[in-house]
Amino acid sequence: MPTAPTAHALTDVTSSDSSLRRFLHGLPGVDAVGLEARAASLGTRSIKTTAKAYAIDLAISMVDLTTLEGADTPGKVRALGAKAVHPDPTDRTTPATAAVCVYPDMVPAAKEAVAGSTVKVASVATAFPAGRAALDVKLADVRDAVSAGADEIDMVIDRGAFLAGHYLKVHDEITAVKEACGGSARLKVIFETGELSTYDNIRRASWLGMLAGADFIKTSTGKVAVNATPANTLLMLEAVRDFRAQTGVQVGVKPAGGIRTSKDAIKFLVLVNETVGEDWLDNHWFRFGASSLLNDLLMQRQKLATGRYSGPDYVTVD
């Protein structure tokens, strides 16, 4: 992806803590009621038959198949990799998922499992999920994952610093991580929207992440009570739309956590199409961070193909 330079209008925004704060606090406030109503109304679209089949295949191709458990083993990661490459072994027309998402130490196993396919390996890093570690430790974590061959890095921001108003600290940390990614790995920045309290904060965090050079902005870790919701994802989509309008730089969006059914996934695709348009309807620019979602998508796909409802006995137990 060619990285366009940040447009001159925003270059001095990040020159000091106060100018960054002035800029972020100068962003228009979010109309929470309007945002939720808009997200809800877009969720009522009825997507059927061929459009549904297209949406399901698109959603499968956008899944970052994720396992982030303390109990992950190389065997489990291999199984996950195999599933990412051929989500439904009984139907080879099923598209592969976008990526597998694992902890840094599992990157070699994941890399091996998806070798020779289009599936990328994403690794969480920077003391995921809390992000409570010294910068050196976080950067070592990132370099470790990159050198093991991760194509994408999912970092968490320092929410403590963000909530305390130390925006430049968060910015510099993202920049440093971006640098540690080298030229090869794309950087996804996780805001943990459930911990940011307000929609205004989510908008600020989105802009902050994009100013610092994020390739993707991601809602959450999946480890807290509130994860991706249609409203916070819509807000982030609006942010990437506005950012591209101002700077010409396109940034991807990844809602993660809590998206479990095909119906939910299709609602998110409607949000994407209606907010930022077709440019983002591609797994280079939009992803779902999910684990159980894929099984539901596969069951729906089987239903469309055969006309009868499928069941959990016909997909893998992960």
Partner: protein, 303 residues
């Protein structure tokens, strides 16, 4: 103005009959209803006209409930089923009225039907912790093994309730399915669904976990078709299907090797005859365990 005090007529409070799915009372996803009338075509109420999506939701609910229900102790299931009978007893008058209207019976005949249904429920409640002794047990085998068979519930069972006997018949097909630990999706009698929908209200207040029984009303053929083809339904009871429909459904059910209980002939006295254990064993599978007894070699018997 006359000074006669007029009694203000009370406004009628009509009951909204709803489906019973996953322990909740949703309307049909399709928003449709149909008119239910008595034997003389007098309107009784509107019942929900369930769609295939309601059937799908019911399967999800039944599957979710299966683990805990089949894993509960047989004794506990018996207690809960007995509780259902207690609750039925408390609403006896309502069921008598609904059965009388639905089947065109006199009040005393309807009461006899309801009593028989409650008694049958109690009878099945007693079977929960006894069926294993009757159809399971130790098998003599030619080798140094304990060989034990025990009946296990099949899983999610779709039940087409009888079309004619709206309550006694209904109870006679639901109770044996859940007594042994299965969970059920019941399609109520198409013409007389009201007692079945009211039964849902009883089940919801009887400690029966949500999703163990799910009651759908509507066109039997429309709801049964997706259930028969559903890959996550393990068995189907075709009692309420006519001959053509039963054949169609059996063909669809063969796809994932569902257990199928074909419509059984009903005796002259309706459903009042002793049911036997047949309806329970139809939805049980036998698990057999071989366990070595230990060495029977040089040292002789080890136990």
């Amino acid at each position: 103005m006359s000074d006669k005090t007029e009694t203000v007529a009370r406004l009628s409070v009509f009951k909204t009959y709803k489906l019973y799915v996953g322990g909740k009372f949703p309307r049909s996803e399709s928003g449709r209803v149909y008119e239910v009338s008595d034997q003389k075509d007098k309107w009784l109420a509107n019942a929900p006209l369930a769609s295939r999506k309601d059937a799908r939701d019911a399967v999800v609910a039944a599957r979710k409930a299966f683990g805990a229900w089949s894993g509960a102790t047989a004794y506990n299931r018996g207690q809960i089923l007995y509780r259902v009978a207690e609750m039925l007893e408390g609403r006896r008058e309502q069921f008598v009225r609904e059965v009388a209207e639905a089947e065109g019976l006199s009040k005393s005949k309807a009461a006899a039907q309801v009593d028989a249904a409650i008694d049958r429920w109690v009878w099945y409640a007693g079977w929960t912790d006894k069926i294993a002794q009757v159809v399971g047990g130790g098998n003599p085998v030619a080798g140094p093994f304990f060989n034990l068979s025990s009946p296990e519930p099949t899983g999610v069972v779709a039940v087409l309730a009888p079309q004619e006997s709206s309550f006694l018949g209904l109870v006679s097909v639901i109770a044996p399915v859940i007594a042994t630990g299965n969970t059920a999706i019941v399609i109520a009698s198409e013409k007389s669904p009201l007692p079945a929908l009211s039964l849902g209200e009883v089940l919801a207040t009887s400690d029966l976990p949500g999703g163990v029984v799910n009651v759908l009303s509507g066109r039997t053929a429309e709801i049964a078709a997706p259930l028969a083809a559903h890959q996550d339904v393990n068995a189907i009871d075709l009692t309420g299907a006519d001959e053509t429909l039963a054949t169609e459904l059996e063909v669809a059910a063969a796809d994932n090797l569902k257990r199928v209980l074909r419509p059984q002939p009903v005796d002259n006295a309706g459903w009042s005859a002793d049911p036997g254990t047949g309806r329970m064993t139809a939805f049980l599978e036998t698990k057999t365990v071989w366990h070595p007894t230990g060495s029977l070699g040089a040292s002789g018997s080890a136990y």
